[in-house]
C-alpha cells in the first residue's frame, strides 16, 4: 500500500519556513524603517509602495508586521526553550525514577495545567510587572509543566523497555541512560510538543501584548500591540488590524499543522487523565 503524503506536515513546514524566512529577513532589512513616522502618509490603504498600507502615524505596516512577528517569534523561541529544557529535565527525572517525588511533582503539574496559560500569565504579570524579558520568563516557566507531563509519561513508558534494563546490566550510568539512550527515542513526541508549544507561545504573547501587558511599545513593535492600536482606526483603516491579525494566525497555523503532522495527539492539558484509569 502506498503511503498518503503527510499534507499537514508539508503545508505546516512550508508555511512556517516562509514566515520564518520573512521574519529573519526582517531582522536585517525591512522595506521602510518600522518606526519612521510620516505625517504626510497617514493611514494609506494597501498600494504598490506600501504593500499593506500605513498606520495612523504613517509607518509602513509591512515593515512593522515583519518586526512585530520577529518579536513574537523570538519571545516564543526563548519561552519554549526554557519550557522544553526544564520540562525535559524534570519530566525525565520523575518519569525515570518514579516514586513519591514523581507523584508529588505530577500533582503540582496537574494543578498548574488546569489553569489556562494566559490566565496564569496575567496573575504573574500582575505581580512582576510587564516587559519583554519578563514575558519570556513568565511564559517559559508556565510551559515547564506541560513539557514535563509529556516527557514524563514517555520516560515512564521507556523505562520499562528491555533496552533500558540491558543498559543497566552493562553498567551504563543513569544520567547517560536518560539522555543518551532514552531521549532519542522520545524525540518525535518532544518535537511535536515543541510545535504545540510554539503555537501556544505565539498565542499567549499576542494575547498579552494585545492586553497591553506584554512587550511595551517603547521596546519594539509587536503583533498583539498593533492589533490593540489598530482598533481605534478600525473603520477608516481596517487593513491595519487585518495585517497584524493575519500574521498572528498564519504563525499559529504553521505550528499547528506541524504538530498535527507529527501525529502526536497528546492533549496539551490533562484531558486524558481520566482515560488512563479506564480498565479495558
Amino acid at each position: 500500500m502506498r503511503k498518503r503524503p503527510n499534507y499537514n506536515l508539508i503545508f505546516g513546514c512550508s508555511l512556517t519556513a516562509i514566515t520564518v524566512s520573512a521574519i529573519i529577513l526582517g531582522f536585517f532589512w525591512t522595506p521602510f524603517d518600522p518606526d519612521a513616522m510620516s505625517p504626510a502618509e497617514k493611514s494609506i490603504g494597501p498600494c504598490l509602495e506600501h504593500l499593506l498600507g500605513t498606520d495612523n502615524f504613517g509607518r509602513d505596516i509591512l515593515s512593522r508586521v515583519m518586526e512585530g512577528a520577529g518579536t513574537t517569534l523570538s519571545i516564543a523561541f526563548f519561552a519554549v526553550s526554557i519550557g522544553a529544557t526544564f520540562g525535559t529535565i524534570i519530566g525525565g527525572l520523575t518519569g525515570y525514577l518514579g516514586g513519591v517525588v514523581d507523584e508529588i511533582v505530577m500533582r503540582i503539574n496537574d494543578a498548574v495545567t488546569a489553569f489556562p496559560s494566559v490566565l496564569l500569565a496575567l496573575v504573574v504579570v500582575s505581580i512582576t510587572g510587564t516587559g519583554r524579558t519578563i514575558i519570556i520568563f513568565v511564559l517559559g516557566i508556565l510551559f515547564i509543566p506541560s513539557f514535563a507531563r509529556v516527557v514524563r509519561s514517555e520516560f515512564a513508558k521507556q523505562r520499562q523497555m528491555d533496552y533500558v534494563r540491558n543498559a543497566r546490566l552493562m553498567g551504563v550510568r543513569h544520567t547517560r541512560i536518560m539522555f543518551v539512550h532514552i531521549l532519542p527515542n522520545i524525540a518525535p513526541v518532544l518535537l511535536s510538543s515543541v510545535a504545540i508549544g510554539f503555537n501556544n507561545a505565539v498565542l499567549a504573547e499576542a494575547s498579552m501584548s494585545y492586553l497591553n501587558l506584554g512587550v511595551q511599545p517603547t521596546e519594539s513593535a509587536s503583533l498583539g500591540r498593533m492589533l490593540l492600536d489598530s482598533q481605534s482606526y478600525l473603520f477608516s483603516a481596517p487593513w491595519q488590524a487585518l495585517s497584524a491579525g493575519c500574521a498572528i494566525s498564519i504563525l499559529i497555523l504553521g505550528f499547528a499543522l506541524i504538530s498535527e503532522g507529527l501525529g502526536y495527539r497528546q492533549m496539551w492539558r490533562p484531558t486524558s487523565k481520566r482515560r488512563r484509569k479506564v480498565s479495558a
Binding site: 505581580i127 494585545y210 492586553l211 497591553n212 482598533q231 499547528a256 492533549m267 484531558t271 487523565k273 481520566r274
Partner: protein, 313 residues
C-alpha cells in the same frame, strides 16, 4: 456517595491551597499599599497610623487567616483606585462575565456536537474533508482577532450592533443579550472547532470497534448504531475536554471583554493590574481560581455517571 464526599474533601483542600498561594504571592509584591492609598499626602506618621489600622504589622499567618475569614464573609477589602468595597465593585461585573461565558459555552455545545456527529457519520467524504480544512483554519485564529473582525464586519459595516455601546441588563434585557452574541461567538468559534475535531475522531475510533460491527450485523441502521452505541462511549473524552473548554472560555472572556468594551470582571482585572489595584486583582484571581477548580471537579464527578467502566476506589 463515599466517592463524592472524598472528592469534595479534596476539592476544599485544593481551594485552601490556592488561597494560601494567592495570598502569599501578593505579599511578595514590592511597595507599601499605604503609600498608594495616601498618595501625595503621605507622611511617616500617617503611614504608620494607617498600617496599624489595616493590621499590616501583624505576622503574615495572622493576616492570612484574617483575609480568609473576611473573604468567606464576603468582605474582599477596599479598592485603592475606586475607594469603595471590592465586593460592591465586582458583584455586577461577575454576572456580566458569567453571562458571556455561559452564552459562549452554550454556543460551543450547539455548534460542535451536531457538526461533530455529522462529520463522523460522513467521515472521509468530500464535505468532511472540506470542513476539516476550515476547522484547522478556525482553530488557528485567536479569539480576539475574530472579535475584531466581527466588530468591523457586523458592527461597523453591517451595523448589527454598535461597538463599544454596551447595554446593561437593567436597561434592556434583550439589548444586553444581543450585545453579547458576537463576543460570545468570537470565543466560541475556535473552541467549537477543537471540540468538533475531538468528537469526530473519538467517534470514528469508536465506530471501528468490534461491537459496532456486531450491531450492524444485527440489522441496525447506521443512525441507530451511532445513537445507541457509539455516542455513549465517544462522549467520554469529549466531556473532559468540555471542562477544559469552559475554563478556556472563562479565560477567553477576559480578553474578549477588552475587544468589545464589555464592563465585566476581565476588564476590571486588566485595569486593576495596570493600575496596581492589588485588593481587586487578588479578589478576582481568587474567584476565577475557584471557578476553574470547581469546573474541573464537576467534570471529574460527572464521569461516574457517564462512564460505566470507571470504578472508583
Amino acid at each position: 456517595m463515599k466517592y463524592i464526599l472524598k472528592k469534595i474533601g479534596i476539592f476544599l483542600l485544593t481551594l485552601l491551597g490556592i488561597s494560601v498561594l494567592v495570598f502569599f504571592a501578593f505579599q511578595v509584591i514590592p511597595g507599601d499599599p499605604t503609600t498608594r492609598m495616601l498618595g501625595t499626602t503621605a507622611t511617616p506618621e500617617k503611614i504608620a497610623a494607617l498600617r496599624e489600622q489595616l493590621g499590616l504589622n501583624d505576622p503574615a499567618i495572622i493576616r492570612y487567616f484574617r483575609w480568609l475569614t473576611d473573604f468567606l464573609k464576603g468582605d474582599f477589602g477596599t479598592s485603592y483606585s475606586y475607594n469603595m468595597p471590592v465586593s460592591k465593585l465586582i458583584s455586577g461585573k461577575i454576572a456580566i462575565t458569567a453571562a458571556l461565558s455561559g452564552m459562549s459555552f452554550a454556543m460551543v455545545l450547539v455548534m460542535s456536537i451536531p457538526i461533530g456527529i455529522l462529520r463522523a457519520r460522513f467521515a472521509h467524504s468530500i464535505p468532511d474533508r472540506i470542513s476539516m480544512i476550515f476547522n484547522q483554519l478556525i482553530m488557528s485564529v485567536p479569539p480576539f482577532f475574530i472579535g475584531i473582525i466581527f466588530t468591523y464586519v457586523f458592527g461597523l459595516v453591517l451595523k448589527l450592533f454598535t461597538p463599544g455601546d454596551f447595554i446593561p441588563h437593567s436597561e434592556s434585557a434583550s439589548g444586553f443579550w444581543g450585545y453579547l452574541v458576537f463576543p460570545a461567538l468570537a470565543i466560541a468559534l475556535p473552541k467549537s472547532a477543537m471540540v468538533v475535531k475531538l468528537l469526530r475522531s473519538s467517534m470514528v475510533r469508536e465506530m471501528s470497534e468490534d461491537y459496532v460491527r456486531t450491531a450492524y450485523s444485527r440489522g441496525n441502521s447506521r443512525w441507530q448504531v451511532l445513537r445507541r452505541h457509539v455516542m455513549r462511549n465517544a462522549i467520554i473524552p469529549v466531556v473532559t475536554f468540555l471542562a477544559v473548554t469552559l475554563v478556556d472560555i472563562i479565560a477567553g472572556s477576559i480578553i474578549i471583554e477588552q475587544v468589545f468594551a464589555i464592563p465585566g470582571i476581565g476588564r476590571l482585572l486588566l485595569s486593576s493590574i495596570i493600575g496596581r489595584d492589588l485588593p481587586v486583582v487578588q479578589t478576582i484571581i481568587t474567584i476565577i481560581s475557584i471557578a476553574v477548580i470547581s469546573v474541573n471537579y464537576i467534570a471529574d464527578i460527572s464521569y461516574k455517571y457517564i462512564d460505566p467502566r470507571i470504578r472508583f476506589r
